[in-house]
């Protein structure tokens, strides 16, 4: 069922390896980085909001 | 009759006021008071229909103003803290252009009379950029002399006026109330308006 004869053939992509893997690689990179960026901004937002909440409750107690 | 019903105002993050209601009948004047940032100007912008309230309704002659926007605006004269005059035009041109944009008819003679009343006689044909700040304000106030629309909404009309001009403007507002007009205004220094029923509303 699998079309390729060897792993080397698969990597070479019939001479188009650079273009094919350049496309897939950058796409994979983008789809890896984007969730990380989103996750990190979520964490910093939550941390900042918590700080604000704490500051608020402290100023209320005072 | 102008009615505000349960108005709520949120600006950015903050709720400035909520549950604000009032009623204004012909011949009545409403003073809006409150410290800086309490939402006076926001309330005025709601009343002129530029700022949709977070909650609540504003009704003019029993109809919600957002449904009859054009009719409401035909009955409304607003004087903001900006003069709404064009520097390149003369006082006379400014008055005439303002009236035409508001859908009013104004004769040149009436406009010249109004400018004389605010002490700008002889400067009708000088571009406004050559006038002083005080004189520009008076060009803006000259609109009130000729305006016959029933509802006036004025944002700090007395600011930066000398004593004589304050008395004069109080007289103009009185005359408007006596004609059966209504007015809503914000002001820092309450000025005695001789005629009409004066009511106060404190925000915040």
């Amino acid at each position: 069922m699998i079309y390729w004869n060897s792993f080397a053939d698969f990597i070479a992509m019939g001479g188009y390896g650079f273009y094919v893997w350049g496309s897939f690689g950058v796409t994979a990179l983008v789809m890896l980085i984007e969730p990380i960026v989103v996750g990190r901004s979520r964490k910093t937002t939550i941390a900042r909001l918590k700080r604000q909440l704490r500051a608020e409750s402290r100023s209320k107690e005072a | 009759m102008l009615e505000a019903d349960n108005l709520e105002c949120v600006r950015g993050e903050r709720r400035l006021f909520a549950g604000l209601s009032f009623k204004l009948e012909a011949g009545e004047l409403l003073y809006l008071q409150g410290r800086n940032g309490a939402g006076k100007t926001s309330l005025l912008r709601m009343l002129i229909g530029l700022l949709p309230p977070e909650a609540g309704d504003i009704r003019w002659q029993g109809e919600a103003i957002r449904r009859r926007r054009d009719d409401y605006h035909a009955a409304l004269c607003y004087l903001g803290h900006l003069n709404a005059i064009k520097e390149e035009l003369t006082p006379l041109e400014n008055l005439l252009a303002g009236a035409r944009l508001a859908g009013e008819t104004l004769s040149e003679d009436d406009a010249i009379d109004a400018l004389e009343q605010v002490g700008l006689a002889g400067r009708e044909d000088l571009a406004c950029k050559y006038l002083s700040q005080g004189q520009k304000r008076r060009v803006a106030l000259a609109r009130l002399v000729i305006d016959r629309r029933p509802l006036w909404i004025l944002d700090e009309p007395f600011v930066a006026l000398d004593v004589g001009a304050v008395d004069w403007l109080a007289g103009v507002i009185s005359a408007h109330l006596q004609r059966g007009g209504m007015a809503v205004m914000t002001t820092h220094q309450p000025v005695a308006i001789p005629a009409g029923t004066v009511r106060e509303l404190r925000i915040g």
């Binding site: 699998i2 019939g14 273009y19 | -």
Partner: protein
């Protein structure tokens, strides 16, 4: 009446926030599943294209990202229309959460288009109608992102962005047809990426990849909208409760 109530309940951030949180793992799982299946078929099973050689395999990314970039713009415009018509808070946030992903899809589409073009046409960039429209679409995304970033008040930003999206969506077909027409007039390259005679396996690979990218976009957008909700609604009780709850968990 009951339906209406439910709709509003769904559209309220307090209900949508936990719902979105529960949905994200499912969409991630679907994205991975479709992705593996698509890559398996596209990269391992599908035979070579007799005209384009192995280079054709770029279409397994190029075509799905192009579809998604256009589709996301339409979805954003849909949310913008809902937001302007019904003044719902959620719709503006949805549009904003989708925009960066849409822009990335447009970028990937251009990137893979260039990498496809170099071996096929001998040049990185061709003023092909599709590539050109994709470039303009990227400009539209950047314009939207720049506009909403420039307006401080979030509600005003949502509304202004919404108007821009609606204007944009009216213009997208006009732009597309004018560019296409311009392209034929100047007799530029009009080699098709996807041949109509494409083998059935290839089509399956492309569809699976498109589904995977779609699910991925939904998952990322939901994650982003959750952060936006916390930020925007920080003074409400539900966000406070949420913040204290996550505090206990960590």
């Amino acid at each position: 009446m009951n339906d209406r109530f439910n709709l509003y309940r769904f559209a309220s951030p307090a209900t949508f926030y936990p719902l979105a949180g529960k949905m994200i793992p499912w969409f991630v799982a679907l994205a991975v599943l479709f992705g593996i299946a698509g890559l398996y078929i596209g990269m391992l099973v599908a035979p070579t294209d007799f005209q384009q050689g192995e280079g054709y395999r770029i279409i397994f990314i190029h075509v799905p990202t192009s579809w998604l970039s256009m589709f996301i713009y339409l979805v954003m415009a849909f949310w913008a229309a809902i937001g302007l018509a019904f003044n719902t808070r959620l719709s503006g946030m949805m549009a904003r959460a989708l925009a960066p992903t849409g822009a990335l899809m447009a970028f990937l589409s251009l990137w893979t288009g260039a990498l496809w073009g170099k071996p096929m046409w001998g040049t990185w960039w061709v003023w092909d109608a599709r590539l050109t429209s994709e470039l303009i679409l990227l400009f539209l995304y950047i314009g939207y992102l720049a506009l909403v970033a420039a307006i401080d008040d979030p509600r005003r930003a949502d509304k202004a962005g919404g108007i821009l999206l609606l204007v944009g969506v009216v213009n997208v077909p006009i732009i597309y047809f004018s560019v296409k027409w311009w392209n034929t007039l100047h007799q530029g390259s009009s080699v098709n990426f996807a041949k109509s005679s494409m083998a059935e396996v290839m089509l399956w690979g492309m569809l699976l990849m498109a589904l995977s990218f779609w699910m991925y976009s939904i998952a990322v957008a939901l994650a982003r909208v959750r952060t936006l909700m916390l930020e925007r609604e920080r003074n409400t009780d539900w966000v406070r409760a949420e913040l204290t709850r996550t505090g206990e968990m960590q």
